[in-house]
Point group: C2
Chain length 401, copies 2
């Protein structure tokens, strides 16, 4: 596997574009379309929030046949908590794209992100969709990546290449997410394209599994969004032998590449967390089970006290152990070793005399690496987050106004 330039238009047969439609502030792109010249096998994972945007339900319906050909996205308005009107608006977005691209509305997926509870400006969105559809291009990926951003500072793109059955297969992806980031069986917005030939069933299983160890291990603020989604479109143009067996070597190779893509984007989301000055990577190792490792890693990345201590470069390892303790996972606190980067802070649940200077150095790295060794089994998990800063408070004290 190797990384290559580009993102969602790197795989064969994919076009994209992002345009300004005056939904966000001036001079910012806010409507994007991703389109495959050929109908794709497709899959998605979605937010588990009981309160969910209209587009989630539409996508669940549209993905029932495991196929899709285009994705339309707007930023600046989440179209969540907007009732029947919101459903009609989301459907109207799919229909507008379908009409312009001469495909079935059933094959269009819809995503929205932005403020909750505000009616969609459908006239402007309609114009944006027209402009994006008219200028779809093989070089439109970066524009699309920009058009899905809200408080993100950096656009998040990646593309990789693997060889499967002698054929070169590409995977491209973009994502957004900066606040209200605590995915649960889903993600902020992530869109993945591939020219691989792969069955819808394999795609759905692989996406779910891969998401669980990438986006679902990211938290910025423990707030699970109403609009989280991760979509993948596979148009088969690479001409590889079809991947339709989850136990095959081809499946494994493709999954490894997809994991790389998702983990890379997940890390970018963590690093671009609202107000963040540094990313945090938490590795929990030698746990009794993967779930134990996972739950503890997640708990530490979501501890406000730990996050604030990282911001202040305060080597307060007791907060790390306390966050493990209240995670709900079962483990023996008296066996736990804790490292900040290379510096061992605690052994068997007790503090060591450590070098404050070296601990400070580790806390100034980006990402800050926290390692928790449970010394009781062979399972590991990694989670990603970011520090809690003045700017997080500032951004979210005045997001809407």
């Amino acid at each position: 596997m190797k990384t290559i330039a580009g993102s969602i238009t790197a795989p064969q047969g994919f076009l994209a574009q992002g345009v300004e439609a005056a939904i966000k502030k001036a001079d910012r792109k806010d409507v994007a379309i991703i389109y495959s010249t050929r109908k794709c096998n497709a899959a998605g994972v979605f937010t588990t929030n009981k309160v969910r945007a209209a587009c989630i339900d539409i996508n669940l319906a549209h993905l029932q046949d495991g196929q899709a050909q285009a994705i339309v996205v707007n930023s600046g308005n989440a179209n969540a908590c907007t009732g029947k009107q919101g459903q009609e608006d989301a459907l109207a977005m799919a229909t507008a794209v379908a009409d312009l691209l001469n495909i079935s509305p059933q094959d269009v997926l819809v995503a929205s992100t932005g403020v909750i509870g505000v009616k969609m400006p459908m006239d402007r969105i309609g114009k944006g969709i027209q402009a994006a559809a008219a200028s779809l291009s093989e070089t439109g990926g970066p524009n699309a990546a920009q058009a899905i951003m809200t408080t993100d500072l950096i656009n998040k793109e990646i593309a990789v290449e693997v060889v499967i059955g002698g054929k070169t297969v590409r995977i491209g992806a973009i994502a957004k997410g900066s606040g209200m980031i605590h995915p649960n069986m889903a993600t902020m917005l992530g869109f993945i394209t591939t020219d691989a030939m792969i069955s819808s069933d394999c795609l759905a299983k692989m996406l779910r599994d891969s998401c669980d160890r990438s986006f679902n291990m990211v938290s910025v603020d423990r707030d699970t969004s109403t609009n989280d989604m991760l979509l993948i479109l596979a148009n088969g143009l690479a001409g590889n032998p079809v991947i339709d067996d989850a136990k095959s070597e081809d499946y494994r190779v493709f999954k490894e590449a997809l994991d790389y893509v998702n983990v890379s984007l997940a890390k970018m989301v963590a690093r671009d967390g609202e107000g963040a000055t540094r990313a945090i990577e938490v590795q929990v190792i030698n746990a009794d089970s993967y779930d134990t490792a996972r739950v503890i890693a997640r708990s530490i990345t979501t501890s406000n006290l730990t996050k604030a201590a990282v911001f202040g470069a305060d080597a307060n390892w007791g907060r790390i152990l306390a966050a493990a303790g209240y995670s709900g996972a079962d483990f023996d606190p008296q066996r736990v070793d804790i490292y900040l980067g290379l510096e061992k802070m605690a052994e068997d649940g007790m503090g060591l005399v450590f070098d404050e200077e070296r601990a400070l150095e580790e806390l100034k790295k980006d990402p800050v690496l926290i390692k928790v060794d449970l010394k009781s089994g062979g399972h590991n998990a990694t989670a990603w987050g970011c520090d809690l800063t003045y700017d997080y408070v500032k951004i979210n004290g005045s997001y809407r106004t």
Copy 2:
């Protein structure tokens, strides 16, 4: 029931003191003793964190007979994650108090709060215990309340009086807590005294139930401490007919007074949350069950996004509904009405056109009242929290150093 002046020394037969022992910074009290001239029936609830301080285990052992006569507390050092030495130190504190007051070590309860993972300065603590024991007094309550504070800005005290079986019964209490506040079946530190005659069994049940609807509904930062505890001592000096039946009218009257004490202190803790400029009270009403109401109320008080929006006085009700949505509780988002104080923001899960000025006024009140009407049953719950501010980040970016 009426509130009266004083706190833990208001009930008959209780003495207390708080002194400076140089565990915290200069000029701050940090060792306290609460003592009853007569042996008490006693009960406690404790943190559910897997990582817990030595004093928790000692208290569980010392409370097995349902009796105690003194409590010794230090602030500035949590004596958590301190291994075998920590256990010995906690036990040494109980023994020192027992020797000085001529009671059994088994009847002394121990509490610590402060930094985690640092060895206790037992020489200074020993001197503090001597000084506090030597100056125990009926007017020492406020000193004790000060001596248990860490980042608290305000000492938290209350006393009430009820008549039971023709006898005047008093309840006094002090509490501390400002950060690492997200109790779970327990609390930060809370100490309650009463001269009521009440059985240990009734006391234990009542304390647990009362704690669940008071301290356990407070969150400052979603971080459950390693040292949380709530203790009650009842010395029986009021001479009321013994309360030994959880179904009796006397039990109900005393429980009502205890609830008032605990809810009052819980609110003080929320308002004094680290860096807080305003308290938040979340009322979830008309739920299918108490648990549904409780889980949603807790989820909203712990949402960083909601807390930051309150700090910025941004009427971002969508975050409130989103926090309800990811709480895990089962409810119909399309029936939910949301109020900010008197101002209705959303109806049937959808935004209303609201008066920004009036919403802003509600957001500047202290506490800010958030009401969520599920319109589906008859159960209500209230939770308390505070806003998320620059100062929270500041305090916790440099707590240890």
